[in-house]
Every structure is written in structure tokens, then in C-alpha cells.
Amino acid sequence: MKQTFQNILKGQKKDGSQSQLFILTIVIFSAFSILKPHVFFTLLNIKSMGFQIPEIAILGMAVMLSMITGGIDLSIVSIANITGLTTAFMITQHPASTGMSLNLWIAFSMFIGLLLGLLCGVVNGFLIATVNVAPILATLGTNTLFNGLTVGIRNGESISRLPKQYVRIGNGTFLGIPMPLILLLIISILVGIYLNRTGLGLKTYLVGANRSVARYSGIEDKRILRITYLGSAFLAAIAGLIISARVASASPDYGADYVLLSIVIVVLGGVSPTGGFGKVTGVIMATSILQIILTGFNDLSFSQFFYLICQGLVLITVIGLNISRSKNPQKISTYVRLRRN
């Protein structure tokens, strides 16, 4: 306990925005707990937040990966939906006559769905790294394309009545912990290891900090970009599976406002929009803050529109504070130097 506390204190010296977020999370959580102890601070309520946070947090991590390299991925929700819809469609087509067990078929469908998501990532990577299109443009185009394909495949209809085994991924619990939350934990640890403990991760930061310098230092910047957008698409595809399993249906139009929401989350989580900086913990804390505010407002029976206002205000205040506090362009290079030591 003392150790973690010291780590937090140390972290404060290294990176103010993370501990600032941590404090903000605790303050908001306590505030709602005090205001509505019998509604907000209950196991049921906390559990329901545990079901809602993961999908957005994973989408946020997908955006974070692209933003670390100085780009952005606007196609994440389309990729999530194309994966969710394809998987759901395949599951409903279970060939019972062949004697293949439903569980195996579900796993196979999920595999195909993820593969399709990865294919979308390949398209993004090709446009951004090989054709050299600005990421915001390339993914703006592929967002429309992937969404259009999802609409086209099933004439814009949604798919429901999914089998129990699949729905459990999004609604079940393991030892009382929501399944999506466990998935989120595993994924965030994997992404954290990738970014902080592997060569590729370090190169990702370096490409984002300064692409030309990275290239002249012998980093294959195009390969890094391709891998990054592949990773971003993979995370989006996983989020798509979780979403379709949680709501027990798949639709091409699900979560249209998640694109902008995940950008809000990522930026709030301290990821630099110009690249070179970003942490998994920041994204998760930012998602939690927004979810706590949303749930808290619901419990206080505020209108959800106040949540929208609040979301915007929090974003502008936090970014405004960050900008006025650290007007030194040295921040990125300091971070890279810290990591080298």
C-alpha cells in the first residue's frame, strides 16, 4: 500500500496529467457517493458501470494507438459494427445439420469477424503508410466505406435473437466480476505491455514524437504505421464483439456517436493529439470519469442532456488547463528521454 502510494507520488513528478485524472476520478466518485449513497454507492450500480465501461475504453485504446503515432482513426466504430454484424449473422446461420457444436461455430464466427476487422485495418494501413494519405482523411473515407458495406450486406437491417452462449460474453459474470471488465483488464495489460515493454511500442512513440527523426534513425516508419492501424482495427473489432454480445443484437448504425466520444476520452486521458504521448491508464481513467458522471447524473435524475454539457465542459477545461500549464514543447522529448534511461 505504501509502495503504491509512493508510486503515485513519483508519478506525479513525472506526469502530472495522470495523477490529476486519478484525483479527479476519486473526487467525482466520492461526490456522487456522498450525494446519493443508497443509489450510487451500491454493488448493483458499480457492476452496471463495469458492463458499460469496457467497450468504450477499448475503442478509446484503439484511437489512442493511432494518436500516439500522430494520426487518428475515425473508422473504429464502423470496424466494430462490421465485425459485430458479420459475427452475429454467421452465428444465426449455424448449420445444425452438419453436427458442428454451437460453441465451436460461435468461436469460428468470432474468428471470421475479427479477421474481417483486421482486413479493415490493412486497408487503413495501406492508405496511410503506402499511399501516404493523411490519417484523418483516409479513415474518414474508410469509415464511410466500412459503414456502407455493413449497411449493404444486410440491407441495413439489424440482427437479434443471438444464442445464450454468445450473449454471455457481454452479460455474464465471472466470480461476480462482469465478463467485459475481465476482457478489458486482459486487453489493457496486453496493450500496456506492447507499448511499454516491446521495441515496437517504443518505436510507435518515436514515430509519433517526430516521424522524420525516427526515419533517419533507421526506424521503418511505414511498417510501424501499418502495424499501428492493424492494432487499432483489432481493438475496434474486439469492442464490436463485446458490444454485439452485450446488447444481444448487431446493427450497422450502433454507436454512431462513439467516434467522437472516444476522441473525447482519449484526449481527456492525456494522449497528445500531435502524437508521441499516451497511456493506457489515462484512457481507462478518462472512460471511468465520464461513465461515473453519466451514471451519477442518472441517479440524481438529471437529464442526460446535462451530461452532454458536462462532457464538453470537462474536455475544454482539462485541455485548457493542460495547455496553459505546460506551454513547453520539451514535454515529448523529456518523455522519450525518461524512457531511454
Binding site: 466505406l145 456502407g148 464538453g312
Partner: protein
């Protein structure tokens, strides 16, 4: 390698004109009788709102920024105007007062963006994301969230005003909407401002780079404030026109249309990195997307593939632009090499 007129041919606008021509010829072969006044008039009507928004987006993109708040600014201005007109029961027949009111409200909301971007120094995408949430929340929580179906008489009358009526051979009437006149004037005026005034040229300079613009002696903060006020006014006008043409004020409409409009402007040749873009290109981009959206069925493609087609077209456009840029770059390098010889 000097082909006369090559420069003109390589211009993005020419590509768009060619694309529109080829597409319309193909449609005409598939369904003869496509070339008619009624098609043209319908296309115009389908483009009005996106064109007004597109002009605002164009200005922001030329200045090197990106605005995702304009649909919210638009619908806030329009909905608030209609609500005020409704409550006060005044000037039922006038159209000047509501239009001016919507523009003024738009300018005020643009002031939010100007404050966040110029004063606080927040990156444009994040600032407008934040203000979009705040504006939407303020409208739904403060102004109202109810669909208003009876517009004031003046505006309702405007919705059906016709400039020219042409009786087709089939006996049906083709109507060219009166709005074509003010919108043409607006397009020409903005084209003139961007090409011929100091203000317009400064916007291009700002898009070329904030620092270089400042060294040129351009008051960048003041310029940004003016840009976002102007764009706010345009968005207000666009919102009111969308309400007029739909003949109802739906506070939930327009949300989520921001990426589509940005796509149209980008297809029109505006560079997301700033510094490039023309009003003519934007008009063509909006027109091309409207052409595809409304006439895909004539090509024998099911309507549910419309979005996919728009996405594919957008990607083709982006990739072509990238190649042209590459060619131009190579040409400049070659000419530099020749000079050095």
C-alpha cells in the same frame, strides 16, 4: 514533358467535373431521360443545406483547422429561432427577421469556438468536439427537445417558393427552388472573399502555417476569431435552411452529419493540412455526392449500397489527390534540378 494545359487538367476541379460527367453519362445510358431539368432541379435542392455547411467547413479547413460543431450550431440556431418566433408570435410572415436571428445566434455560438480556439489555444478538433456537446446539451436541456411541426408562415411559404416552373412532356412540373438565388450569391461572395480580399488571403496564409502567418504580420488570434464567427453565422444560416426545407424543426436532426460534409469538402480538393481549397471545388464535391446518393438506384444498385458507393468514391478521390500531389512534387524537383544544371 511539357504538355500544354497539363496543369489545368491536373487540377482537382477538372477531375471532379470529369467524374460528374462520366457518372451522369453512365446513368443516362442505363436510364434514358436522366438529362432533364427535373433531375438538375432535384439535385440542386438536395445540395443546398450541405453546400452552406460545406462553405463553412471549407473556410475552417483552409485555415488549417477542423470543425465538427457546425451541425450543432446550425440546429441550435434554427431551433431556437423557431422557438422564439413561436413564443413571441411576432412577424409571422417575415423571413428576414428569422434568417437574421439564426445567423446572429450562429455567430454567438461561433464565439464559443473562437474563445476556445483563439483564447485558450485548444486544438480545433478538440475544441469543437467540446463545444458541440455543450451546444447540443444546452439546446435539448434549455431550449427544448420537442419536434416543432408548424413553422411561422413566412418560412413555411419559403419552403415551397419556386423560381422557375417547367412543364415536362409527361405533364409533371419541375420546380427550381427560389433558394438558388441567395445561395448562388453566397457562393460567389465567399469565392470573392477567399480569392480577392486581405481577409481571405490571410486565411490561406494561416493554413500554410500559424508561425509563418504571424511573421507575415497577420494578427493570427484576431483572424481565428473572425473565421469562427463567420463560420458560426454560416452554420446558423445552413441550420435554418435545413429546417425550412424539411418544413419542421427537429432538434435531433443534423447530428452525425459532420463527417459527411467534411468528406464532401475534402473530395472538393481542400487539403486537411490547410492552405488549399476552393469554393468551386466544394460546390462540385457536394454536387457529386448528391448525384451519387440520389441516383444510385438508376444504375441498378440497391439503395442500401449507397453509403458504400460514397465511401468508395471518397477513397478513390483521396488516393487520386495523393498521386497528383506526388506528381507535382516530382515535377518541382525536376525543374529545380534543371535550374541547377
Amino acid at each position: 514533358m511539357n504538355i500544354p494545359g497539363k496543369k489545368l487538367l491536373l487540377r482537382n476541379e477538372m477531375m471532379l467535373v470529369a467524374a460528374i460527367l462520366i457518372l451522369s453519362i453512365v446513368i443516362n445510358i442505363k436510364s434514358p431521360g436522366f438529362y432533364s431539368f427535373s433531375t438538375l432541379f432535384d439535385l440542386c435542392r438536395a445540395s443546398y443545406v450541405q453546400l452552406i455547411f460545406g462553405l463553412g467547413v471549407l473556410i475552417v479547413i483552409i485555415s488549417g483547422g477542423i470543425d465538427v460543431s457546425f451541425p450543432m450550431v446550425g440546429i441550435f440556431s434554427a431551433y431556437t429561432t423557431i422557438t422564439i418566433m413561436d413564443k413571441l408570435h411576432f412577424s409571422q410572415n417575415g423571413i428576414i427577421i428569422p434568417i437574421l436571428m439564426a445567423i446572429v445566434i450562429g455567430v454567438i455560438l461561433g464565439g464559443f469556438n473562437a474563445f476556445a480556439i483563439a483564447v485558450l489555444g485548444i486544438p480545433t478538433l478538440i475544441a469543437t468536439l467540446g463545444t458541440a456537446g455543450i451546444i447540443r446539451g444546452l439546446m435539448l436541456a434549455g431550449v427544448g427537445s420537442r419536434l416543432i411541426q408548424d413553422l411561422p408562415n413566412g418560412l413555411d411559404h419559403l419552403a415551397t417558393s419556386t423560381l422557375i416552373q417547367i412543364r415536362n412532356s409527361g405533364g409533371t412540373l419541375s420546380r427550381l427552388h427560389l433558394l438558388i438565388i441567395p445561395i448562388s450569391i453566397l457562393v460567389l461572395a465567399l469565392g470573392w472573399i477567399l480569392r480577392r480580399t486581405i481577409f481571405g488571403r490571410s486565411i490561406y496564409a494561416l493554413g500554410g502555417g500559424i508561425e509563418s502567418a504571424r511573421r507575415l504580420g497577420i494578427p493570427t488570434k484576431k483572424l481565428q476569431v473572425r473565421i469562427y464567427l463567420l463560420v458560426g453565422g454560416l452554420a446558423g444560416l445552413g441550420g435554418l435552411m435545413s429546417v425550412v426545407l424539411a418544413r419542421q424543426a427537429d432538434p435531433y436532426s443534423l447530428a452525425g452529419s459532420e463527417l459527411d460534409t467534411i468528406a464532401a469538402v475534402v473530395l472538393g480538393g481542400a487539403s486537411i493540412a490547410g492552405g488549399y481549397g476552393s469554393v468551386f471545388g466544394t460546390v462540385l464535391g457536394v454536387f457529386l455526392i448528391a448525384l451519387i446518393r440520389d441516383n444510385l438506384i438508376l444504375l441498378g444498385i440497391s439503395g442500401s449500397w449507397e453509403r458504400a458507393a460514397v465511401g468508395a468514391l471518397l477513397i478513390i478521390g483521396i488516393v487520386t489527390q495523393a498521386f497528383i500531389r506526388k506528381m507535382k512534387k516530382r515535377e518541382t524537383q525536376e525543374s529545380h534540378a534543371e535550374v541547377q544544371k
